[in-house]
């Protein structure tokens, strides 16, 4: 390895013939090999097992278990509760990012740290805490019951749990963009005679939109797959408050691997669709950031 440098030119290396651009830095073969091997063994091959198992079912059997009334109700429940939770986080996450970037106030650093608590706190802990808090005997649940809202053991509880786990996404995607956006553009807008409201609507909002949408999509995607924080508060009644991931575990407990795989395949396809949406919004984010 000692004589390595003398054998290869440095500086601007021309694009190679194949897929790899030649570089002076060694170790590509080894590190790429390890990356590809581990990725295949840990993630890709096991994931393909879901599709392989689901496709051993006949098309009729697949449709019957993957789109049974109970399964469709579960997908739909996961989707609409995640949408509401992501929307709530869209509003409050924007306010939190705005406060963190634009204002000085006591306790700002604590707020900044606590925003990430839903990432750091085990979901089961969040689940039992929220279930206790929002049950009709709990602190908040008792208050809500007085105004006629049954929170825990009801879809409302699922929305609450998903809102909790989704808190960091919008905050952490909007925050860096808001920092970059900073003074100059808004000053330009104001000095050209725009009112504060006009500046916010015409300058700040379009600048933040891609990041906000990325955070929203991430919170939504997380909500659809979420399990630990939801099952304690949901009540888990079939057709009513039973989320799709729970249905997979129920099929597994009955050793019906085929049905579990079929439902999991539908969920994976939803995840991949969300991944494409997130990639698209991130590309939009990068483009609008460069300009």
């Amino acid at each position: 390895m000692a004589g390595f440098a003398s054998t290869r030119p440095l500086g601007r290396v021309k694009r190679g013939e194949g897929w790899l651009r030649r570089s002076a830095i060694p170790g590509f073969g080894l590190t790429f090999g390890v990356t590809a091997t581990v990725l295949s063994l840990v993630v890709l091959i096991p994931l393909s097992a879901v599709a392989a198992r689901a496709l051993t079912l006949s098309p009729d059997a697949f449709l019957k278990v993957a789109f049974s009334v109970r399964a469709v109700d579960a997908y739909w429940l996961s989707i609409w509760t995640s949408l509401i939770a992501a929307s709530l986080n869209g509003v409050f996450g924007l306010a939190i990012a705005w406060a963190l970037v634009r204002y000085r106030f006591p306790g700002k650093m604590a707020l900044n740290a606590v925003v990430d608590l839903p990432f750091a706190l085990p979901t089961a802990v969040a689940g039992i805490a929220l279930a206790t808090l929002y049950a009709n005997t709990g602190l908040v649940g008792a208050l809500l019951e007085k105004v006629g809202i049954k929170a825990a053991y009801n879809p409302v509880g699922i929305v609450i749990a998903l809102t909790f786990v989704g808190v960091p996404f919008v905050v952490r995607t909007v925050e860096p963009i808001l920092k970059d956006l900073a003074a100059d553009v808004e000053e330009a807008s104001a000095s050209l005679g725009a009112s504060r409201l006009q500046t916010l609507v015409r300058v700040v909002a379009p600048g933040l939109a891609p990041a906000w949408l990325t955070g929203f999509a991430m919170a939504f995607a997380r909500g659809i797959g979420e399990y630990g924080s939801v099952i304690f508060i949901a009540g888990n009644m079939p057709y009513r408050s039973e989320i799709a991931p729970l249905l997979i575990t129920i099929q597994l407990e009955q050793f019906d691997y085929g049905a579990a795989s079929a439902i999991a395949l539908v969920m994976l396809l939803i995840s991949f669709a969300m991944l494409l949406v997130i990639n698209a919004t991130q590309a939009w984010m990068k483009r609008s950031r460069v300009r």
């Binding site: 390895m1 004589g3 390595f4 440095l10 897929w19 790899l20 002076a24 830095i25 170790g27 590190t31 790429f32 990356t35 990725l39 993630v43 096991p46 097992a49 879901v50 306010a95 939190i96 705005w98 406060a99 634009r102 106030f105 707020l111 740290a113 606590v114 990430d116 608590l117 750091a120 706190l121 085990p122 979901t123 089961a124 802990v125 039992i128 805490a129 709990g138 908040v140 909790f164 952490r172 925050e175 860096p176 807008s189 000095s191 504060r196 955070g215 797959g225 399990y227 630990g228 991931p245 729970l246 997979i248 597994l252 691997y257 579990a260 795989s261 999991a264 995840s271 969300m274 990639n279």
Partner: protein, 282 residues
């Protein structure tokens, strides 16, 4: 313009500031503050004694031990993988790079339950290697190896996705200089790259560890819930909670809360020491 009082176009009117700040404080108190207080309030509702007893009880200690053991395997594994992947991806350019990054990120968009399920389909009784494993008397599903695999899966992207942007931002000029002066690949990594990415690595490991210790869904599917043997701390919390032992459940949950709070404190310290590290959505 220069003679006038400076325009401060970024200043929000006072009422808006008050509205936003009070909304934020109210939302965070109800959404995050109250659940956190609930854990400690219920855990300590009978005093410190019963809470400590629940933590010192045999099955609880076994769960703590198992959780530490799992993290001690999964976190270093993913750290080594993350360094390898970021070296290949950030220091070299090749076609299909962004696709590779998306594949590494994949476990984040997969439901934890599906993450557990995939290993049941590979190693379980009716799985690909099920019959072979039975013949050779090896147990992976409903045993510790399965829990390790599921944990590795859900924590897979943490270190890599922390290091890739950091190493890309730092460029490869320093490494090229070291190599041109005759340093070997390993020496270049250890002496040039490692000191530059140290904080990013620590940050990634912190997040990876928190998730590894706290994972519930994926681990729940492959664990088999054998008390004192295949129950991690989060699973132990679930068992106690379902047995209506609320003090016990919340006492163990309190321990996990302390872990989460310590993670956040360390993470904040890294962010203060190195502002270029972290600060993005996972």
């Amino acid at each position: 313009m220069s003679g006038q009082t400076p325009i401060r176009p970024n200043q929000d009117p006072g009422w808006l500031r008050t509205l936003i700040l009070s909304t934020v404080v109210l939302f965070m108190s109800v959404m995050v503050g109250l659940p956190l207080i609930t854990v400690f309030a219920v855990g300590l509702s009978k005093g410190l004694g019963p809470a400590m007893e629940a933590i010192r009880e045999h099955d609880a200690l076994a769960a703590v031990g198992l959780t530490l053991f799992i993290a001690a395997i999964a976190v270093p594994f993913n750290a080594v993988f993350g360094v390898c992947a970021s070296w290949a991806i950030a220091k070299h350019s090749f076609r299909g790079k962004s696709f590779l990054v998306s594949l590494i990120d994949l476990p984040f968009s997969v439901s934890p339950v599906v993450a557990g399920l995939v290993y049941v389909l590979v190693f379980g009784l009716q799985g690909w290697f099920g019959p072979w494993l039975i013949d050779h008397n090896i147990k992976i599903i409903f045993a510790v190896p399965g829990i390790v695999l599921a944990t590795v899966f859900v924590t897979f992207p943490f270190v890599a996705r922390e290091l890739i942007p950091l190493m890309e931002a730092q460029g490869s000029d320093e490494e090229e200089a070291a190599v041109s002066m005759g340093a070997s690949g390993l020496a270049t990594f250890l002496r040039v790259t490692a000191p530059n990415i140290r904080w990013g690595l620590i940050y990634g490991v912190l997040l990876c560890n928190a998730r590894a210790m706290g994972e519930f869904g994926a681990v729940s599917v492959v664990s088999g819930h054998i008390r004192g043997q295949t129950t991690t701390m989060p699973l132990h919390v679930e068992i106690l909670y379902n047995e209506y032992d609320f003090v016990g459940a919340f006492a163990v949950a309190g321990l996990l809360c302390l872990m989460a709070l310590a993670t956040l404190a360390l993470k904040t310290l890294v962010e203060i020491a190195r502002p270029e590290v972290g600060g993005h959505a996972v």
